[in-house]
C-alpha cells in the first residue's frame, strides 16, 4: 500500500498548506494595513492599495517632538532597565547554578511563582507607593520597577542557560585561585553568549512594548516613551491622521522586530520558550 500512503501524504500536505495560508492571510490583514497606510497619502482605516506611494507620512512624524524624543525616552528606560535586569540576573544565577544549598529550591520556586504574577494588578499600589517615596514621574523609579518586574523570569532563564555550561573549566580556574566573580565574568558568561543575548533581547522587547508601567509611573509628557506618546495621535488634535499614526507605528515597532529576528536566527525558532516553559 505504499503508493496510497504517499498519495494520502501529499493530499494532507496540500490541505495543511491551504489551512495555514488562510490563517496567515487573516493574521496579515492588520499588518498590511499599517504598512500600506504608512505609504499612503490618503490613508483611512481599511486595507487598500495606496493612491500613489509617498514618504510624506514619515516626513511628518520624523521630528524631535513626535518621534525622536519618545524613542530616546523608550531607549533610556528600557535600555537602563535591561542592563540592570541582566546584570542582577547573571549575578544571582551564578550561585543558584553552581552551588548546592538548601535555600536554592525555595528561592527558585518563589522566583518561578513571581514570573507568572499579573504585574498589572499591582500597578495601583505601586503608584500610591511611588507617590509616598517621591519616585513618581522619575526615570530611575520606572527603571527600577521595570527591572523588578522582569527579574524573576530573567533569573530563571539565566539559571537554566548557565546550567548548560560545563563546570570543568571553572574548576580549573578555582584551583588557580580565581574568585567566583572572576570565573563568572571571564569564563561562564562568554561561554553562554547566546543565552545572555536571549535574556537581554527578551527583557528589552517586553519592556519596549509595555504600555501600562510608564503610563502609570510617569506624568510629564517630555519623559514619556513611545508606548504612551503614541496615544497623542488620538488626543486633541482633531482629525486623526491615520497615515502618520501608521508611519509612527512602523518606526516604533521596527527595532523590536529586528531584535527578535536577530536572536531567533541565531538560536532557531522558538528560542527561549522551550527552556522557559518546560523548566
Amino acid at each position: 500500500m505504499p503508493r496510497t500512503l504517499a498519495a494520502r501524504r501529499t493530499r494532507h500536505r496540500l490541505a495543511a498548506d491551504a489551512g495555514l495560508l488562510a490563517v496567515a492571510a487573516a493574521f496579515a490583514l492588520p499588518l498590511l494595513w499599517v504598512v500600506l497606510s504608512a505609504l499612503d497619502r490618503h490613508a483611512d482605516l481599511r486595507v487598500k492599495a495606496p493612491d500613489g506611494l509617498t514618504l510624506d507620512n514619515f516626513d511628518a512624524v520624523l521630528n524631535a517632538d513626535v518621534t525622536f524624543t519618545p524613542l530616546l525616552n523608550s531607549l533610556i528606560l528600557c535600555g537602563g532597565a535591561t542592563l540592570l535586569t541582566v546584570g542582577c540576573a547573571a549575578l544571582a544565577a551564578y550561585p543558584l547554578s553552581r552551588f548546592r544549598s538548601r535555600l536554592n529550591r525555595p528561592f527558585l520556586l518563589t522566583i518561578l511563582f513571581a514570573t507568572s504574577l499579573p504585574i498589572t494588578a499591582i500597578m495601583v499600589p505601586v503608584y500610591a507607593l511611588f507617590v509616598q517615596v517621591n519616585l513618581i514621574d522619575t526615570r530611575q523609579g520606572t527603571i527600577l520597577f521595570f527591572a523588578a518586574s522582569q527579574l524573576p523570569f530573567a533569573i530563571w532563564l539565566m539559571k537554566n542557560f548557565m546550567d548548560g555550561v560545563p563546570k570543568e573549566l571553572e574548576e580549573a580556574a578555582w584551583t588557580d585561585g580565581a574568585s567566583s566573580l572572576q570565573s563568572l565574568v571571564r569564563i561562564v558568561l562568554p561561554l553562554m553568549g547566546p543565552g545572555v543575548a536571549v535574556v537581554t533581547v527578551f527583557s528589552f522587547v517586553v519592556m519596549w512594548g509595555n504600555f501600562f508601567v510608564p503610563f502609570m509611573l510617569l506624568l510629564s509628557p517630555d519623559q514619556m516613551p513611545a508606548a504612551v506618546s503614541i496615544n497623542e495621535f488620538f488626543g486633541n488634535r482633531g482629525m486623526v491622521a491615520y497615515g502618520q499614526l501608521a508611519a509612527f507605528s512602523v518606526v516604533y515597532s521596527t527595532p523590536v522586530i529586528l531584535l527578535y529576528v536577530l536572536v531567533a536566527r541565531r538560536l532557531g525558532g522558538g528560542f527561549a520558550l522551550g527552556g522557559a516553559v518546560k523548566g
Partner: protein, 316 residues
C-alpha cells in the same frame, strides 16, 4: 532541571553537611561564612525584588483595607473588609468579573490555545515555505508592541475598517463591531496578538513525539482526528497544562490592548477587571477600592500560578 535535580549523582542525601566537598584541596572557611560569601551575588537582585516587587505586593495587601483616596484627604483609615463588601454589591464590579471570564475563556482557552495547537499540528505537515510564511506573520503579531497591536485591530474592527469592507464585498451584513460586540472584538484582538506563544510551545511539544508512534498509527489507518485525540493529545498533556496556565495569566493582565481599542466601553461592555480597577482608582479617585479589586485579581493570579508550579513539578 529545577532544584529537584540538585541532589546529583554521587551525593548521599543523608549527609548533614550543608555543602558538598570542594573539588580542589584548599583551606576551607567555616561553612556559614562560606555560604554567605557564595550567596553574596544574589544580593542586588534580592534587594530590587524586595523593594520593588514584594514591597508593592505587601502595600497592596495593606491599602486594600483602607479608604485611601487620590485627592483631598489628609489621612486614610482602616476600614476592614468594607472595600470587598462594596465590590460584591457593585454591579459594575460583577459585570467586570463576568467580562473578564468571557474574555479569558474566549481568547485564551478557546482562541489562543486551540488555534495555536492547530497551527502547530498543521505546520508539521505543511511545506516549508508555507510554514515559514505563516510562522513569520503570526510571530510578528506577537512581537509588536501592545499599543500598536491595539491600533491595528482598532482599525480592523472600526465601522469603516477592513473587516466591514470585506463583509461588504461578500454581501454580508456589516456592523460597528466595537459598539455592538466590543468584548468579542477585544477577544479576537487578544487571539491575534497571543497565538504565537501557544504555537511555539506546541511546536516544541509535537516535535518531541517520536515519529515511529504517529507513523505506526498512520499505517494502521487511524484517521487524523483519532490520532490527534488518542495519541498526540495524551502525549503532550503537560504542555497543554503549562500553556493554558501561562495564557490565562497573561490574559488576566491585559490592559493596553483593551484600553487602546475601547477604553473599556461603550458603557463598560468591554471593561475587564484591570480596566475597572484603573477606573475606580484614578477616574473615581478611590485608591483603596481600586486596590481591593487589584488584590482580588492578584489572588486569582496566584492561584493559577500555584497550579502552574504544581504542573511543572510533575514534569521536572
Amino acid at each position: 532541571m529545577t532544584a529537584a535535580s540538585h541532589a546529583g549523582p554521587g551525593v548521599a542525601p543523608a549527609a548533614p553537611d550543608p555543602g558538598p566537598p570542594e573539588p580542589a584541596p584548599r583551606p576551607r572557611p567555616r561553612p556559614l561564612r562560606r555560604a554567605l560569601t557564595r550567596a553574596l551575588p544574589v544580593t542586588p537582585a534580592l534587594v530590587v525584588l524586595l523593594l520593588f516587587l514584594a514591597g508593592p505586593i505587601a502595600y497592596c495587601a495593606y491599602l486594600a483595607f483602607t479608604d485611601l483616596q487620590l485627592t483631598g484627604q489628609a489621612h486614610s483609615s482602616f476600614v476592614g473588609f468594607a472595600n470587598f463588601r462594596r465590590a460584591f454589591q457593585d454591579e459594575r464590579f460583577l459585570n467586570a468579573v463576568w467580562l473578564t471570564l468571557v474574555f479569558t475563556v474566549l481568547s485564551s482557552l478557546v482562541g489562543q490555545n486551540t488555534l495555536g495547537l492547530a497551527l502547530a499540528a498543521l505546520m508539521r505537515r505543511a511545506s516549508k515555505p508555507v510554514r515559514t510564511l505563516t510562522g513569520g506573520v503570526v510571530i510578528t503579531a506577537w512581537v509588536l508592541p501592545e499599543v500598536v497591536a491595539g491600533f491595528l485591530l482598532y482599525a480592523f474592527f472600526r465601522r469603516e475598517g477592513t473587516l466591514n469592507a470585506l463583509l461588504d464585498q461578500l454581501h454580508l451584513p456589516s456592523q460597528n463591531w466595537l459598539f455592538t460586540l466590543p468584548i468579542l472584538a477585544v477577544s479576537f484582538a487578544n487571539v491575534w496578538r497571543g497565538t504565537a506563544f501557544s504555537m511555539l510551545v506546541y511546536s516544541a511539544a509535537l516535535g518531541e513525539i517520536p515519529k515511529e508512534i504517529t507513523e505506526a498509527a498512520e499505517v494502521d489507518g487511524a484517521s487524523g482526528w483519532r490520532r490527534m485525540w488518542h495519541i498526540t493529545l495524551p502525549m503532550i498533556r503537560r504542555s497543554i497544562g503549562t500553556n493554558l496556565m501561562l495564557n490565562t495569566l497573561q490574559t488576566l493582565s491585559v490592559f493596553g490592548l483593551i484600553w487602546v481599542m475601547t477604553r473599556g466601553g461603550p458603557g463598560g461592555r468591554s471593561q475587564t477587571l484591570p480596566l475597572f480597577m484603573y477606573e475606580q482608582a484614578f477616574q473615581n479617585s478611590l485608591i483603596g477600592y481600586g486596590t481591593a479589586v487589584a488584590l482580588l485579581l492578584l489572588l486569582v493570579g496566584s492561584l493559577f500560578s500555584v497550579v502552574y508550579l504544581r504542573l511543572l513539578r510533575t514534569e521536572v
